[in-house]
Amino acid sequence: MGQVFHPRFGLYVQLVLFAVIASLACGVLVWRASTAEPHGIGEPLEQPVPFSHKHHVGDDGIDCRYCHSAVESHAFAGIPPLSTCMTCHSQLYTDAAALKPVVDSWRRGVALHWQRVHQLPDFVYFNHSIHVAKGVGCVTCHGRVDRMPLTWRAKPLSMQWCLDCHRAPQKFLRPRDKVFDMTWKAKNQDALGMALVRHYHIDTRRLSDCSVCHR
């Protein structure tokens, strides 16, 4: 019986295999690149005004709710209207170059466009008020905002990450009066967490139901 395959056939097979692997790898890279989030964890975003939480929260000690006033009552914590900025900045640093866009915006009556740092897909219906009411601290999801000169995302905000808490809320809950505290740490989180789950009357049976976040 003669030779079935030509001697050069082996080369062809190798080339074809290489091409398949290379194109698959390219495909994966293209797919990863095109579906990646617009910005990563710990990566500050360029904003129209270099607003510093570090300065306002860390140095000046302004409460979160002074600006994010709807956080206890609504789904959306609220981005402060320019009038809130102007309560101080009509007097302070009025000539600072960094503040020029704010002053201009106020004078001309044209709103600022901030880049959103924490964005969720449209099919997720996140509600700040219920998390605050049930003792989830700001710092648990947003990190040490009081140390951020420019704001960045501190946590993945993926569904897996959400479920870590929804499946075991006792690991993260804190007393109601410590929610806005950036530095608080529990002495014994497990014991306190279990007590808080009962205290807040959290129905853990439904906490990982799809309907809690998706509609």
């Binding site: 095109s34 617009p38 709103a111 139901d209």
Partner: protein, 969 residues
Amino acid sequence: MSATPATEVAMQALRQRMGDAQGPRFWRALEELADDAHWRETLHAAMPQLAALAPMDRRRFLKLLGASLALAGLAACSSPPQEQLVPWLRQPEGMAADEARFYANALACAGDVCGVLVETHMGRPTKIEGNPAHPASLGGSAPALQAAVLELWDPDRSQTPLHRGVPATWDDFFAELAKLSRGDGRGLRILSGAIVSPTLAAQRDALLQKFPGARWHRHEATGQGQALAGATLAFGTPLQPIYHFDKAQRIVALDADFLSSMPGRLAHARAFAQQRKPPRMNRLYAVEPTPSLTGAMADHAWPMAHGEVGVFAHHLAVALGIAGTADRAADEKRIRAVADDLLAHKGQSLVLAGESQPPAVHALAHRLNQALGNIGHTVDYVAPMDVVEPADSLAALCKAMDAGEVDTLLVLDANPAYDAPADLGFAQALAKVRQRIHLGLYRDETAQLCDWHLPMAHALESWSDLRAWDGTASIVQPVIEPLYAGRSAHQLLAALLGQPTDIRALLQSRWHAGDDEGWNRSLREGLVADSATAPTHPSAVSADIPASMPTADDLELLFRPDPTLWDGRYANNGWLQELPKPLSQLTWGNAAFISPALAAQRKLANGDVVELRLGGRQLRAPVWIMPGQAARSVTVHLGHGRRHAGHVGNGVGFDAYALRSDRSPWREGGLQLHATGEHVELAATQHHHAMEGRAPVRAGTLDEYLHDANFLHADEPATPPSLYPAKPPGEYAWGMAIDLNACIGCKGCTIACQAENNIPVVGADQVRRGREMHWIRVDRYYEGSAQAPHTHHQPVPCMHCEHAPCEVVCPVGATVHDAEGLNLQVYNRCVGTRFCSNNCPYKVRRFNFLQYADVKTESLKARRNPDVSVRNRGVMEKCTYCIQRIQTAHIAADREGRPIADGEIVTACQAACPTQAITFGNIADPDSAVSKAKASPLDYTLLTELNTRPRTSYGAHLRNPNPALGDDA
């Protein structure tokens, strides 16, 4: 094209069995009654809608499969866009970004004025609910009211003034108007619809005073002219009856559709349904030539020709001893029984006639009410809002235009070029007018014939005031700035009169001059307190009423407003086009309704095109066989066949105005009907989503119920054991009860659900394939013979089965249960296998076969409810029990650390229902309203034998027939 063989076979079988129907007790289509073999085959096919697909070979299938895989892969390659946050400069008080705000308002819709609450998100109106404080709504809403919000966002709306088709500005027009304002108005005519706004009426009076030579005409294609003429005949002055169905125990409806087309219909429906709670039920007799929703609710519905209705009323008057003599009635037993029943309920009975009946029948109804002592008890009379003198009619206008007496015609929100009776020759007469100006929402048929077309501001964009049918006044406030360059009729008239154009100030000075508190209260509550018209005490009814004579015509043609499109003004509204018409279940078009007997005689099947000839005019129309239609009556619905409605409404159906005459607007004798041999496939949904002969509807009579309250459950087996896990464990258990005894089949729930849940419109072709997307459908079942059947309506949302058959077949876990008993659909997991839909015995799941949701048109995006995900192609969806409303209430209650109160969650369908047939709540709480409804002995679940344990249950439908009449329909 001839009739399809299958339909032909069905009709042959039907013709054979017409006399002695041996089919099931309850039936949806005539083919089912005839037990047609093809019908059974269709049912047995797992997905009947697939039958409409063209046959496909393997090669083409693989090609399409490959292409869709590749395209789907590409489509998935997009990163989430970087969002921006744009804060307020100064935040208005109480304006949270994510909270719905409701504004009380009023809308004039389909010949009725209703108080509404407009839901807005960030200033965008997204949904309309009834205003519980308003007497014409009481919280309920009709399909046309709900759909007004889609009209607001309709991209086809007129956006800029046009002068001879060229874009112009309002300033150009006002310059033109300034010339008009000189002189005494000779040659100036104004045409509007019926005037239901007191401020518009005042502006009219001011205008006629300033321009004594001008005339103001009114034209309403489906107005109340005959009813007012009837009152004039009876009392010597036009009066409008206000009916009190809460006090009426015996009702005779003479071709009167008080539940779905008379003004005050929502209030009627509420009061009527309240009186039908066993063990106490009222009794309704309906005589009508063509089935209506009122006839469908009747305990005795007798189809008879249009003219026979008057004869019936006359015989009734004779039997009650208030009219002279009459020939012996053919149906003497019925007349006697009805008369005795009425006499036994003096002061608690009611006789009413419908608009389509001639004035003499209306007058006779008033006379009967007087004789029965009902006036002042079950019926009051008030002065009507607008009485059109003959000199102010459209006919007078056409005559004047034809004679060259009209120099300028200003058309305010009317469309006579489409909806004028054909014999008036409006378009030809209009051509003789020098200056023609049209103000309207759309560049419609009339706008096409005018030099100037001006965009009108939508009712939700402008200030106005309206009076409801009982005279209750409401302030209409804008809930959004005009989207386009629209202005209201008030603003236009103010400019013409040289008045200030601040309509808000005009309204406040009219209703609450100098009283800001009262003004704010009226705005907040949606009505001006104590503004209802006081009833007048009419003089005795004239005894000189001409007796109705039976007509000798062979065939008669009846005109009716379309149940959803009304006179055609809503033709460009996709929701209303796609909503299956009550009773016929037709969508996207109209048909000539014929009786089963006429169909058998002329060998016609559904969809066969006939030519209707009347006088010198003719019209081609497909026929639809309507059970319960009088044998020799043919009904056509107005409002279709628009030529310039917009992208949605153009050319849908046929234009029945072409046969209408001014002299006899509702009925014409001497109709000739000729088969053409052509056939079209109508988009009807009555065959879709059938649950086969498994008795989905349970019905009985009041007597049966009083004899044994459990009569429906007599031979029901005990709940069988199940392999499924026990009940979901949550703190709450959501459930729904639907009272079939209260459901009038208006389909307000379907449209409310569509608006709330961002449900797309799919179009006629997709509906023909059985792909309509409505999450709650209203099935219509017939019982008994095809000539005079009993009708049952059954709204069917998802049953939220505790042991859901859909869940076990999903390969990707896209449909799962939550702890509180909701059967969830997770859109992001769904890969579109449709196994769940196949395994659903209730056929409530809807699949996005194509990209139905319009994600491109900007204005439609703004309409959507931001609390509900928009579904894309390839995803299954279904009723969620309005999960967004449950979660909103859940979060509010949990935040405050309290339990969710009973009645705190109201689903969209429940809120819209005018008769409160739907109850929703926590069935784990024995004191909740829904638990009490489910405890009724009439309560049953659909297909109990399948052991799915649905959370949705039904209250059986009861009739209260007159014992003296036995089983006489």
